[in-house]
Amino acid sequence: MDFQLTDDQRALKAGVRELLAARFGRERLRAAVDEGPRLDRALWRELGEAGFFALRLPEADGGVGLGLPETVLAFEEAGRVLLPGPLIATHLAAGVVDGAATGEAVVTAVDGRGLVEWLAEADVVRGDATGAEPLRPVDPLTPLHRVPVSGGAGLIDARPVSSTGALPTASLTSLFTAAEQLGTAARTCETAVQHARTREQFGQPIGAFQAIKHLCARMLVRVELARAAVYAAAVTADPVDIAAARLLADEAAVRGARDCLQVHGGMGFTWESDVHLYLKRAWTRTQRAGTATESEELLAADLVSGVGR
């Protein structure tokens, strides 16, 4: 057992981080917020060229031929920089929808609870978006529509991996969402620590105060626990592991952003600081592919079924 990143995985992660730092750094993020939600098609194609959408597509079909762990690392990096766009839907459409793999096409999907991200900007919508009504989205970089759904169908899939080795879409969406949450949570923790080191009050950095230290320590603990869970779920591809990873990653991202806001004091409550962007994106992602309740129910059922232990 060697549950550490391989050299290739480290290189891949660093590569994605570099690409995103160059193409979607902090200035670009703030500019995107100012411009309003418009998808950067050039960046989308660059991501396509870099293989972001085709990571898991077999090489024979023009893909990169990698697995879930590598894909999770890439989504973690996207989550770090709050990269906007229907990344997961497009990734899942690679090999199914023309142009998705290469980033020529922007693909979105109707989620089980009737939310659609980036509907107006998408070239292809998977699922039935009839009657979609726009929301005024809380996250300035995630335009949302709501589609009336009948019966509030839950989307968490407890079925084991199918005979073809493919996980259901909802499970994959949940896993990649967890990876994005992990990236955001890690970035949020770093942002808080950075601020705590430099902001001075009472003649010393606020990070010297234990109340602030402990907020930061709690953030790190949540990030590290979520990281172990998310990476493990990517390796096992087990729906119960995925549900656990998702719960912990949602917690790390949402609570982390709130704690980060607290560390920033009044500054954290402003539009100028990035903290609200982390929080709003984290909130938005919690609504994807199943609720916390569904995850918890699945995990509870696992306790009495004894399967997967």
Binding site: M1, D2, F3, Q4, L5, T6, Q9, P69, C189, V193, A196, R197, Q204, P205, G207, A208, F209, Q210, I212, K213, H214, C216, A217, R218, L220, V221, E224, L225, A226, R227, A228, A229, Y231, A232, A234, V235, T236, V240, D241, A243, A244, A245, L247, L248, T293, S295, E296, E297, L298, L299, A300, A301, D302, L303, V304, G306, R309
Partner: protein, 384 residues
Amino acid sequence: MDLTYTPEEQEFRARLREWLAEVLPSLPPKPSPADWPGRRAYDLGWQRMLYDAGYAGLHWPVDAGGRGATPTQHLIYLEETEKAGAPYVGANFVGLLHAGPTIASEGTPVQRARWLPPVLRGEEVWCQGFSEPDAGSDLAALRTRAWRDGDDYVVSGSKIWTSHAEVADWCELLVRTDPAAPKHRGISWLAMPMDAPGITVRPLRTLAGSTEFAEVFLDEVRVPVAHRVGAENDGWRVTMVTLSYERGTAFVGEVVACRRVLGEVAREARKNGRWDDPALRRRLGGLNAEFRALWRLTQWNVSEAQSNGGVPGVGGSVFKLRYSHARQELYDAAAEVLGPEALDLGREWTLDRLSSLSYTIAAGTSQIQRNIVAERILGLPKGR
């Protein structure tokens, strides 16, 4: 990232499993918690069986009499012994998990030869005399004095919360050898025989009613200078070695145990109808996520230690923080499932719930662990 085990690791697991299945049925019945001589004999007997089968000191270096196993093999060992319901290290805790490894890494050849084999063979029990009434979290404030008299140190002072002191043969003892030095500098690490004249052990009752730990009074106890591990006044550095072992892998087996208990709690809820309450199901489901993730974090930390030559990192503090709270939540949930029966001391979970309260205190409180995470991992400044 790979969670599969190598053929050698699987082979190791299979042999261990076979051996456990063979020997566990022949174990004598577990003594009652109040029967200290019985507990000592039971724990040492188990250690002897491990020794004879070649499983003693699995994670110790070979030149210290250990098996030099990889951290992954140690993980497998802890997982399998817990799953099979094998005895816990019990009274051998300090000897095997921190005094032993500390002597192995800091002791002289003579010291290693004297103290290590009896720990491995299950002949001698150690306890830890670090805390004092006025030196808990602020351990370096300890005041127990030791002054030189010929070839001996003469030690006076008192220790508190000393687990297993009643049945220990040796104590890893922190003393102040230079009262004039800054507080972290004047400390030495001694191996004190518990039968030396001048030692009084007074058991303390825990909130669970048991006597797990004791006060130890030291009145001019003579400890040979040759029993000092590390240089005089360099005891703080040696202590850090001890603590890194204490916080390293000490809780691994317990996570496996908690996962088992969680499954039992869920089945009990199914039996008594509490399972129909969605809020309770969600709570247990959330705990399942928690303990699964803690197990993954264990695997992550162990793999990391393995790539760092086996040294446990500060990741132990991250783990301990979350684990100690999760364990308490587990037994709170168990109490909710039991309902009024949770007030019955005859229920194992009630006793376990009481003892779980120590996890956020012993081996460094949660507050102290958070300071460690903030200062040593995140690099935040020390408070003034």
